[in-house]
């Protein structure tokens, strides 16, 4: 019900946060707090210190300059989902952010917290994969860029080191012949994804040239659906839904999540159905400036 005892520290800058992390034993970072505080309240997490990075201005905001959008780690889902430019330039990410939790969660939770926490049932891993994001981390040795394909490793496990901070997410803009979408089957109780599928279709004259399709909720971390991507290549945009049947082909379905919410077998079924829906929606958006 109540968090255990800890010491709270508010970081004023990225450097300050890194210093605090280095100095404090058993410290957790706090951004929007919507994963950390619930786990602390139920006693699943019980850190000695909490470093609040949520007030670091340099880690907040959306910048669309050039052909890349840069989103500060502290940017909330509401800010992302309400950004009209992002709906045009990286539809899948805006759509996924809008699918997260509820109004209150979206007002508090952050893209950085989500991607750093890497809950297998969260919505941004698939979207980040489909959007071909680059994750920028700051550590004691300075800044480094992580390709999203190398980032998600396992449940709550990423390429981020314990002494590193995720400071921003960079996503390339979709071209005119690109369409993307995120569709989700939420758990009726928690609202998290039982299955969420994100798709970006890069097309050329009505056929799919290449695709990035990814899922969360199926495996213990966000994964690309490479068999679907392969099947899509050369397909007419009118038929992309058919590729949904390959959703499980590149995955070890015996490793699918299996809990009281849904069995592995049913998740596999949902994955196919939702992949089909994601592909069709993405195809509908090809060449159309997405409307909210």
């Amino acid at each position: 019900m109540y968090p255990g005892e800890f010491d709270y520290h508010r970081a004023e800058s990225v450097e300050h946060a890194l210093e605090l992390l280095a100095d404090l034993d058993d410290a957790e970072l706090l951004s929007g707090g919507h994963s950390l505080l619930p786990t602390m309240k139920t006693g699943l997490a019980d850190p000695d210190a909490v470093v609040d990075i949520g007030h670091i201005d340099a880690m907040t905001g959306i910048d669309h300059s050039g052909d890349t959008t840069t989103i500060g780690a502290n940017t909330t889902y509401a800010e992302i989902a309400d950004d009209d430019t992002l709906w045009d330039s990286v539809t899948v990410l805006a759509e996924a952010a809008g699918e997260i939790g509820d109004v209150q969660v979206r007002n508090a939770g952050t893209i950085g917290g989500n991607i750093a926490h890497a809950d297998p049932a969260s919505d941004l891993p698939a979207a980040a994969l489909a959007a071909d994001a680059t994750l920028v981390a700051h550590g004691p040795d300075g800044e480094r860029e992580i390709d999203v394909d190398d980032y998600f490793i396992a449940m709550y496990m990423t390429d981020l080191a314990e002494d590193e901070l995720l400071t921003r997410v960079e996503v390339p803009h979709q071209g005119p012949e690109v369409g993307s979408a995120y569709v989700k089957k939420p758990s009726p109780s928690s609202g998290y994804a039982l299955i969420g599928v994100a798709a970006t279709l890069y097309t050329d004259g009505g056929t799919v040239a290449s695709a990035r399709v990814a899922a969360n909720g199926a495996m213990d971390h966000g994964v690309r659906l490479t068999a679907v991507e392969d099947a899509l290549e050369g397909m007419s945009v009118d038929d992309v839904g058919d590729a949904g049947e390959h959703a499980g082909d590149s995955l070890d379905t015996s490793m699918f999540m299996d809990d009281i919410q849904a069995s592995a077998e049913f998740r596999a079924q949902l994955l196919e159905a939702y992949t089909e829906r994601a592909l069709e929606r993405a195809a509908d958006r090809v060449g159309v400036a997405a409307t909210v």
């Binding site: 109540y2 255990g4 005892e5 109780s189 079924q269």
Partner: protein, 792 residues
């Protein structure tokens, strides 16, 4: 078809009964001025927390509290050894074969469900109290656990020494021989095995209590989340061995109950007891996890039902065999729920010549099971309406017409069923016809046909439900085992200036009693509603009471109020006659005014009579000063609301997803005092029924660990899960009470589940699906389709 509310100040007292006026209780609730139990702060207040067993079944070897006691901010720690009072929770309903088992407020030897209390901490603040729980070390010897009633009865681990084979009771109703005969002679029989899953009530306000003890006069003031303060006081006085007249119980604003705040739990008694020990105020507030582990569960039936029919599809017999899960101990009214509130309703809306029902109550390692909205009646209605759907299908008859053919005819009331009920009044075809009209039924069947051709699966489901509420009279329920009377009391008191306060023994917690009772009283006394104040939920102010549950407040409480109001008018009439120098026989009372017949200018308003009654300067000889009256109203029978709910759904065979197209509810709850409040009760009830049908269910693993232990895992329906409801009503007055009302609190919850399940089964008929167990999670629906090959 939503009902528009009206501003009470614009309504004439003569019209107020039956008006959809806005609620009087709302201003406090929409401004944050309401006072729920956890809002109460008392100087020097401490906070209590309960150390609960993480095991569902274990022997307690040792409880070490030393570390917790030494913590800063901890006032005291208590275990079972410290309990110096009887400390065993009583059962309020006995059955002939019932095994009564000890239910200690803190477990000393054995824990029997995950959540059973083993120690309490009293600390300076709530955070510290919880910290201290972690410092208590309990050593257990784990025992095998069982959570399913059939498993418990068939060689499950022994939970209580006194209850062999975990049998709590065996009970039957109806006529076994006649029923057997009906089945022997039947042209057709069908049968169905269904489960009615365990539900967690989930009132949004968790249970809570604040106790203040004054040693100099041995007085305990206890504010708590209760639906029945007087009953809690009576029971708790025994549990903590404290004089009943030195224990005051008050219900502040209560955030929903649905049955879960009727029962006498350990925690509230421990709060009162602890306040006496530490001689400081003590507050206890359940966390949501605690309510999930300790609030009495609802339902929990495994049932085999069979129907016998003649060659024309007339039902000739019904046989029901139920295993009822009672949980680890007997909760307050537990024995009555799967028996007298269940077996007696198995005739539904139908004329069934022979019925027999057997119920075995089983102890298991889940929390105690007791009344949850509907309590027994949803389980009865579910099996009957699922069987009826099944039977109609077997006979290849339209389910609506099959029902019509078997209904108790409109001219058969009062109608005596083979399961000991006498239905007061009803007109079942009327609600059916209205529902069919709202569904545009024939057109739907055509659409259904056309959709199937396109590979889309639509279905319609009906639920012709009946419920019995206002359970009574006291003498009868006494014969059936109730350890309490089921009357209600009221006191109506004029103040000298003409305002009125009415005190009722019911205890509302969201139903809008303040408004409804004011409407009744305004109408009876011809007063402006502004002049009326309603007091409920306080043993200090209200003489006696039985509380709010079983949809009894309007039928029983409202009637008690009418009875007192009429006594007041009778007395006032004597005084008015005297003051007006007329014979009492010549006085007429209308719209608050006493008039001398034939002399309309000679009149006196009841509020002026009140003034005269307290002045007492000029009273009739045999009349005492003052103007008030109290009464105990004991109803002559139950009342039987009924109705027809129906749902149209579409099922996606690829994903098992269910979409509502329409939900219609046509209810007959007798006269309606406030139609808007009635509508709200139906809406809320249906939502809980939707919850049971599609989403909810307490799930335990083989060790008795609750898997659905938080709102993250147990789906309390959200706004987007509940369909838009189209409601309408018919009115068949109950002849049993002065208001002609029936009851509405539980109707929606009783009606909805089988309407929805029948609709889904109807939709999946092309796949050969005959039954799916609730909740109809998408995965279950998908499996049901694919287990049958998945081909339509």
């Amino acid at each position: 078809m939503s009902i528009e509310t009206e501003d009470p100040s614009e309504i004439d007292p003569a019209e107020i009964l039956g008006s959809a006026i806005e609620r009087r209780e709302d201003p406090a609730l929409i401004t944050g001025d309401a006072e729920y139990t956890d809002d109460i702060q008392i100087p020097r207040m401490t906070h209590m927390a309960v150390k609960r067993s993480q095991h569902a079944h274990a022997r307690i070897e040792d409880v070490d509290t030393s570390e917790a006691e030494a913590m800063d901010g901890v006032v005291d720690v208590f275990t079972a050894e410290d309990i110096d009072v009887p400390g065993s929770l009583p059962v309020g309903w006995l059955l002939e074969t019932l095994e009564q088992v000890d239910h200690p407020i803190l477990a000393g030897e054995k824990v029997r469900y995950q959540g059973d209390g083993v120690a309490i901490v009293v600390a300076e603040d709530r955070y510290t109290a919880q910290d201290a729980l972690d410092a208590i070390d309990v050593e257990y010897e784990r025992l095998d656990a069982v959570t399913d009633p059939s498993d418990a009865l068939n060689g499950g681990p022994e939970i209580h020494d006194d209850a062999a084979d975990n049998v709590a009771f065996e009970w039957e109703i109806g006529n076994a021989d006649e029923t057997e005969e009906a089945f022997e002679e039947a042209a057709h029989t069908v049968d169905l095995e269904v489960e009615n899953q365990l539900l967690i009530p989930n009132a949004m306000e968790p249970r809570a209590a604040v106790a203040d003890y004054n040693p100099s006069d041995n007085q305990i003031d206890l504010a708590m989340t209760t639906q029945n303060p007087h009953v809690h006081r009576l029971l708790m006085a025994g549990v903590i061995d404290h004089p009943e007249n030195k224990l005051s119980i008050r219900a502040p604003d209560v955030g929903g109950g649905f049955g879960s705040k009727i029962h006498h739990y350990a925690d509230e008694a421990l709060t009162a007891w602890a306040a006496k020990q530490v001689e400081r105020p003590v507050k206890w507030v359940a966390t949501r996890s605690e309510t999930y582990q300790t609030d009495a569960l609802g339902r929990g039936h495994e049932t085999h039902g069979q129907v016998a029919m003649d060659e024309d599809g007339n039902i000739t017999g019904l046989k029901v065999d139920t295993k009822a899960n009672l949980g680890a101990y007997l909760s307050t009214f537990a024995p009555s729920i799967p028996t007298y509130l269940y077996g007696t309703l198995l005739s539904g809306q139908y004329e069934i010549p022979a019925i027999h029902c057997e119920v075995t109550g089983a102890f298991t390692n889940v929390p105690p099971v007791d009344a949850y909205r509907g309590a027994g009646r949803p389980e009865a209605s579910y099996i009957v309406e699922r069987l009826v759907k099944h039977a109609a299908e077997h006979m290849d008859m339209d389910p609506a017409e099959f029902r019509r053919q078997n209904f108790v005819p409109g001219d058969a009331f009062p109608y005596e069923t083979p399961v000991a009920m006498v239905y007061d009044s009803g007109d079942y075809e009327k609600t059916l016809d209205r529902a069919l009209e709202m569904l545009d039924y024939e057109e739907f069947r055509e659409r259904q046909e056309a959709a199937r051709e396109e590979g889309r699966y639509l279905g319609v489901g009906f639920s012709a439900y009946i419920e019995a509420c206002g359970i009574a009279p006291s003498e009868l329920v006494g014969q059936l085992g109730a350890q309490a009377g089921l009357w209600e009391s009221s006191l109506v008191r004029f103040q000298p200036s003409g305002t009125v306060t009415a005190y009722l023994g019911t205890s509302g917690h969201g139903q809008g009693h303040d408004t409804t009772y004011s409407q009744i009283l305004a109408s009876e006394l011809g007063l402006d509603i502004e002049d009326i104040d309603i007091v409920e939920g306080d043993t200090d102010e209200i003489p006696q009471g039985m509380g709010t549950y079983g949809s009894r407040s309007a039928a029983v409480g409202g009637s008690a109020l009418v009875q007192s109001a009429r006594k007041v008018v009778e007395k006032a009439k004597k005084i008015a006659a005297h003051q007006l120098e007329a014979s009492e026989d010549d006085i007429e009372f209308e719209d608050g005014e006493f008039r001398v017949a034939g002399a309309p200018d000679r009149s006196m308003h009841i509020q002026d009579v009140a003034g005269a009654a307290y002045l007492a300067h000029d009273m009739p000889d045999d009349v005492e000063p003052g103007l008030e009256a109290s009464s105990f109203y004991d109803p002559e029978n139950f009342v039987f609301p009924f109705g027809m709910h129906a749902a149209i759904v579409e099922v996606d065979p690829d994903t098992g997803e269910i979409d509502f197209e329409t939900y219609v509810a046509v209810d007959d709850v007798g006269n309606q005092i406030n139609p808007k409040i009635v509508e709200g009760q139906i809406h809320g009830g249906v939502a809980q029924g939707v919850g049971q049908a599609l989403y909810e269910g307490a799930e335990y693993d083989e060790n008795g660990q609750l898997l659905t232990g938080s709102m993250q895992d147990y789906t309390v329906p959200k706004a987007m899960h509940v369909p838009e409801m189209e409601t309408d009503s018919t009115v068949t007055e109950s002849p049993h009470n002065p208001l002609g009302v029936k009851g509405v609190g539980e109707a929606g919850t009783i009606a909805a589940p089988q309407a929805i399940v029948n609709a889904v089964v109807d939709a999946l008929e092309p796949f050969g699906v005959e039954n799916i167990e609730m909740p109809l999670k998408e995965e279950r629906v998908w499996r049901a389709i694919h287990e049958n090959g998945g081909d339509a």
